[in-house]
Amino acid sequence: MKKTTTGHRLEIFFRDVDLDTRGQLLRDRLNSLELSTVIEEVWLSELYTFEGDFSPARLQEAADLLLNPVIHDCLIDEARPLHSAELILEVGFLPGVTDNIAHSAAETLADAWGAPLEIDQGVYSSTIYYFKVAAALTVEDRRLVGRILANALIERLDWKERFRYEADQGMDCIIPRVRLGAGKKVSLVDLEISESELVALGKEGIIDHCEADGDEPCRIVRRGPLALDLPSLGAIADYFATVEKRQPTDLELEALAQTWSEHCKHTIFAAAIDDLEKGLYKTYIKGATEKIRQERGADDICVSVFVDNSGAIIFDDDYLVTDKVETHNSPSALDPFGGSITGIVGVNRDTVGFGLGAKPIINRYGFCVADPGDQEPLYRSAGGQNQALRPRRILDGIVDGVRVGGNCSGIPTTQGFLTFHPGYKGKPLVFVGTVGLIPRKTKAGRLSHEKAARPGDYIVVLGGRVGLDGIHGATFSSEALTGGSPATAVQIGDPITQKKFTDAIVKEVRQRNLYSSITDNGAGGISCSVAEMARECNGCRVDLEKVPVKYPGMAPWEIWISESQERMTLAVPPEKWSELETLLKSRGVEALVIGEFTDSGRCQVSYRGEKIMDMELEFLHNGQPAKRLLTKIRPSEENHIFLPPLTEFSLEDLFVKMFKRLNLASHAYVSTQYDFEVQGGSVLKPLVGSRQIDGFTTVVQPLPESAKGVALSQSLYPAISDLDTYAAAATAIDTAVRNLLAVGTPLSHIALLDNFCWCSSDDPERLWQLKECARSCYETAICYGTPFISGKDSMYNDFRGFDRSDQPVTISVPPTILISSIGVMPDISKVRSFAFVKPGDLLYLLGAGGAEIGGSEYLALLKEEDLATSEAQGQVPKFVPADQLPLYTRLQEWTAAGNFRSLYPLAQGGLAHAAGKGALAEGLGCELEIPASERPDLFLFNEYPGRFLVSVAPELGAEFEKEFAENSFTKLGRVRTDKEIVISQNGETSLQTTVSTLLAAYRSTFVGF
């Protein structure tokens, strides 16, 4: 090993390689990659690199603290013997990337040594892989292996052949310390420039510096996009010229760009659109909620909607439940793990930042990706450069991110889904949500959903430190990711840092009444959180040098807008500060005063005494010129499907194949990785029955002494969106609501959350689709009386790049509306699952259907089987929510009486999927008779909303038929004693299969994931 004076390496590995199961599983995974050779063995080592002076005795102590003597051996500054390994790979983080293992290691050393490490000391973690191979790996092999084991955006991969390793006596000692140039200053930005220069400023950012390049004219390097258009830049230029009578600083311009961004201000939903002067959000989303609340009067369940980090409804007399669903799409495309972990811990903070601080009690997730088997490469740059991650790699990463984030935070992740569609290949959608619980009043008698910073309150930031993480989000260049420069584009969440302050706030500080207001730091960092809270008292003054930073050398504007995670901002009355500081310190939470709230009407920031931002709060928040959007009707094409004759296929074959489809197969490998039991409240779990079949609704009992439950579900229909966004929203709302009705939640205590994930949102036709979708949200929500309480939109989910033959490609997500539902059920003893539980029970289909299969899983299958043409679109179900109300009202009476044995709200896959899953859950067969008038495949597979498959005890059959006589129902058959699934028509068997055949099919798709 190359000896260095500044670094030491501690390598830890299993003494008995048989225990190294990670290596064994990795070997199998890598051998599934179609390498040119076979990897015979993989051994792993965990490596800690120590930077700075450590005596040999200290290093030995560190080893004793970090390894387990029962199973591990270790080497200090010594190369691990290679035995039969021929190839070695070390994977470590690039400078500045969050390294949680190293963070914990440094803390454990500090605990033992009684003092933190010195400023010039550091600990970094990495992993070494030793490969025993049948033959040498080719360059392509290494690329394949490397893509599985690391993400070049945030990690370094160092390969060594055996001879090099031996000649060097091991891997190199690499210390990923961040080194920034010293003394970045604040500069003024001239806005009196040509229009083309203004466009460049808005699109590519402020000029950072110029690079000389030989005899060529110097190359201008910009800081990354401000995403400010010409009218916005004009308004800013105007304001500074006329009101402030000076040029803006770079920090002011960056702050305005953050505050006015689509991400923060939702400009598309806020803008006037066609004849809607108030815009989509106020007219359709908030508008629906206001109308419902008005109509409900005293029975209104909403308490705090659209004003805080989450929305809140009544749980009972003493508590509120909060809910929020976020998206984290772009970061997850670049670094799926980092993107999704940052997303889930970020939305946890939307709970802690609700009111005076709600306790996170349930996590939700939803991942939209392309077929994980799709191997066709995509490139972000021309010439085969900058390859995008493949769908499988993205899926694996986002599943991992939510696992680590959710499990480490001690929040049960009960509710979630996976959806596959080719449109998600360029950019996945990653939905993450958190439900919270908060007492309606604090011990001091304050209403806990109300808060306001007061002039004179200290501005306190707590939690993690600020680095270059997430500055300008996705705008990175590969050059920026080498040498000593940190990977700024991607962040990795640190759930334990967040867990420490979350516990402190929701379990201790809140009750002691130590702050006036609290919010979370998300997009835009403190530039947004402080400026947002400043509106509560009309002013703020910040000393930026007091903000704790991860490393020296950051420019003031970088500190102001950094999105480093795991931070909250509090408004703390000066007389409470000392008590708060002492308490937080004893909980291992760093907190610092960085300024104070004022009533000056201005946002004022200084850095080491120099004033670098001083502008009107009013302009900062409301100075953006109003936009007006125009839409254009997207013509719908008449499109009929020519269905194959029934003789051309086997119904049984298609029935089983439906259960293998990506969207309909078991995703249990994901739900069992997520701790859905922590906090001890799960009632209806993510997997149903003894055979563990995927559910779509979960119920949690938040208080162990109360029978009340929180029911959650979600729904989206991207394939219907492709054809009709109005229908997609209506169907999704109906499904999300119906799912809660089916488990015994009353319609009167259900609220909704909306997440619009759109594409090409500058295109008037896409805007028309958006408007139709929002109109549907309005009309359907009002029809059901289910208010929206929170929402989030993400408007530009398009990928522009190149394919294998270097041709430009654009892949846009299907316009996607996710509806999440939350309800409060009065009694967890009324909950039912979809499992058939007793032979002889009667099976009924409740609700009226149709035969349209546009946007259905069945149509997609027909296309894949060449039984329908690839252009076939068909019609989407003609669905009228208002027609459903009588059925839903009657159904509620029956669920409240506990009369059903099981209920399955029909969705993707239709009746066939419902019956199959109902049978699989407890391994009971069933028999169904298809009405003589129906075409069997359409009857079984159509996805008409508004329906349920229910099972009823035989003795209740007559009563059921009487009670539901006025609602449409079809008597289908019964649950069988044996394990046969038999579907017939006119007394003749149309298909017959067994529970075990179907279960094997259902579980087959994600084997090996």
Binding site: L19, L26, N68, I101, S409, I496, E677, V683
Partner: protein
């Protein structure tokens, strides 16, 4: 003593303290959730309790080995008080991450009856190399565990990434001889799991899920009894309701007996 006092540790990522405290309270104990830093600041307070619990969670994010960092911290700061606590006629319980902490502290399995502090067994990464949240069946081994009095079998959930029990062969033999193996994973028919997934969810050697020491007064287990405390926490609750609509959700689940045994030890 009718009502024992229970100290449940919290902080640094421990996350099951509230539901575990609730379980003890519901069985009649007094409970206090104490932050590890507060205990370190005033370690003598430990002697005012009869039951010491390290609840489940993710202390230090499982980094540097699950339970290792918290065990290091406790060894440096609380060792004399812990030794005095176990020397008295007191109980110690570690659940999941708490079990991992007790193993790393050398409180389990210990070295003979009254010697503690060396690490002799390990709980390592699951053989699936994946976090597993699922329900398992357990059979009580012949042990002296105070917590398992009257228990023959249990159905409880596990939720962990590092629960694979490992001991060198000679240690394993000694544990069996000394009746320190407390629970083993079994399949649905209550037959030995023999290492097979998912009955043995992590690949534990000899299917071992729990250990005890100090004549059964120190007990650590990977599954979570506090998550099977009431009937409505059981995975078959909705289907049970379908057949027996009048089922009372407050009825005891299989995990409750563990807390009752602990509390009743002091009655």
């Amino acid at each position: 003593m009718a009502q024992p006092k229970v100290l449940l540790l919290t902080g640094y990522g421990i996350n099951c303290e509230e539901e575990t405290a609730y379980a003890f309270q519901a069985c009649g104990a007094q409970t206090a959730i104490v932050h590890v830093n507060d205990l370190i600041a005033a370690p003598k307070q430990l002697s005012g309790y009869q039951i010491f619990v390290v609840p489940g969670g993710f202390s230090y994010g499982d980094d540097t080995g699950s339970g290792n960092a918290l065990a290091n911290k406790m060894r440096h700061t609380l060792w004399p008080e812990l030794m005095a606590f176990v020397a008295a006629d007191h109980l110690v319980l570690g659940i999941c991450n708490g079990f991992q902490v007790l193993v790393n502290l050398g409180l389990l399995p210990g070295d003979g009856d009254n010697s503690f502090g060396s690490r002799r067994v390990a709980l390592i990464a699951n053989r699936t190399a994946r976090y597993e949240c699922r329900w398992v069946n357990l059979l009580a081994a012949e042990s002296d565990s105070v917590f398992l009095g009257g228990v023959s079998s249990l159905s409880l959930p596990v939720a962990h990434g590092e629960g694979r029990f490992f001991a060198p062969p000679e240690t394993l033999a000694e544990l069996k001889l000394r009746r320190q193996v407390a629970l083993r994973y079994v399949d649905a028919e209550m037959q030995p799991a023999q290492g097979s997934f998912p009955a043995n969810p992590n690949g534990s050697f000899d299917d071992i899920a729990a250990l005890c020491a100090a004549k059964g007064r120190i007990f650590g287990l990977m599954p979570h009894p506090e998550r099977a405390f009431r009937l409505n926490q059981m995975p078959d609750w909705p289907e049970r309701l379908a057949l027996e609509p009048d089922s009372d959700w407050r009825q005891p689940g299989p995990g409750r007996v563990i807390f009752e045994n602990a509390v009743n030890y002091f009655s």
